[in-house]
Symmetry: C3
Subunit: 181 residues, 3 copies
């Protein structure tokens, strides 16, 4: 093997290592659940990873999308079914319920009280930290379409984007770390 061959082979292997799927210093999470407990887990992991210097991408889908609605924003001209979804699903992250022990609101209120007392960041604060740490948030296009949600009723968040499953998969495949929550 001549020096030129070695050089070329080494360069090829280097490029291959760079492009290897599943090795980026990056976390991609699918946030499927709309319960307070699982959304808290997602945002604590997301902000923790971003604080450690990882690139973080969140893809909110299905029940998770309802958490991104801004309760102060109103959208007119929705059809009946979209209005039904709008009324029945929690309007934004402060209206989420625990997946268990909700107990007509008592358990959820108790947890929120405890979090405040113990100085654990609220979901609102975690979204603020996420924005500061450049955590990227995507919302699933198909879910928005099914539930009749529109981008202009979603929270103000830097570079919030609507995308399809392929975009999520491209990010996830590059990431060394992925969770479905």
């Amino acid at each position: 093997m001549t020096g030129v061959n070695v050089e070329r082979e080494l360069a090829e292997l280097k490029a291959k290592v760079e492009a290897t799927p599943g090795t980026g210093n990056k976390l991609t999470m699918v946030v499927f659940s709309g319960s307070l407990d699982r959304q808290l887990a997602a945002m604590i992991i997301a902000t923790g990873a971003a604080a450690m210097g990882m690139e973080v991408v969140l893809f909110f889908t299905f029940w998770g999308t309802a958490a991104l609605r801004d309760p102060r924003k109103h959208v007119n001209g929705k059809n009946v079914i979209s209005k039904m979804f709008g009324v029945m699903l929690p309007k934004g992250k402060n209206a989420l319920k625990l997946s268990q022990m909700h107990m007509a609101g008592m358990g959820t209120a108790m947890l929120k009280g405890l979090m405040k007392k113990k100085n654990v960041a609220s979901l609102d604060q975690l979204f603020e930290v996420a924005a500061e740490l450049a955590v990227k948030i995507y919302i699933c296009e198909m879910s928005m379409d099914l539930m009749g949600f529109r981008k202009d009723e979603m929270i103000d968040y830097p570079n919030l984007e609507v995308c399809g499953v392929a975009t999520m998969l491209v990010h996830a495949r590059e990431s060394s770390l992925q969770f479905f929550i």
Copy 2:
């Protein structure tokens, strides 16, 4: 270092990179949940990844296995407990319920109606696409045994196989992308 050594070391490193766990262009998903919403998410991600050229392996376990039953197939000679599971769990993918907002069938029916109207693929169609894209489906042997399900009451799907957790783990470890749904 002589040229021969370099050549050998380079070859060794190449082999190592090829065999590195977690880097295959491959997605492995454990489909644990038997709810309509989570099964839809699993199949949308699976078909999306397969369409992007990824190898896709699904491992249906626990509540997820009930979705793979074919309601047209009947199996005789089951014991009492297997019959109870058979009756109580949804018989196939068209009998799945939403994990929330099922509302005695109204919410589930509403979502299915919306999906049709918006031209979103149904679970039936997603399984057809998955079969065309060579998505591999395994069913968990232990779950089948516990719930008294038999392979001959499962859907017709190309190369449907029953396997244990070790087979799933071998696939998952090779994959750059894994989800537990």
Copy 3:
């Protein structure tokens, strides 16, 4: 390119490959759920992976932490809210319920009976196997703090440790395989 350069570049690439995130022969799982079915899935996957020679790290958080309590251990001096959580959450892994089909205990008892009959390992036995196979268990510090759980009311398990989300993320990023359960 001289031989010295090749040698250096090869060494650098080797080191890079060694340190690539997401490629360790290692499984990290976040055990968030406190239901019997999901905890069984987590422990079956954990012991299966450990038996295959993978390093396995479990991070019990939120509802999952309640499963690690030892019902024989009593802790005095808790405040009212901690006592409430203590009473309302299942006291240890033998008090866990199925996430569905619990049916006032009948479904859960039926599954446990079936598992015994079919010689499927119980949760107790799976924890014993996990300990033998050196599966590492961490408990989430924030969850313990919120729910008022103390380390001295947790099960006896080799090297059981309390840690924060960052420790979990460091393990998860090194792992070729990760699940959120």
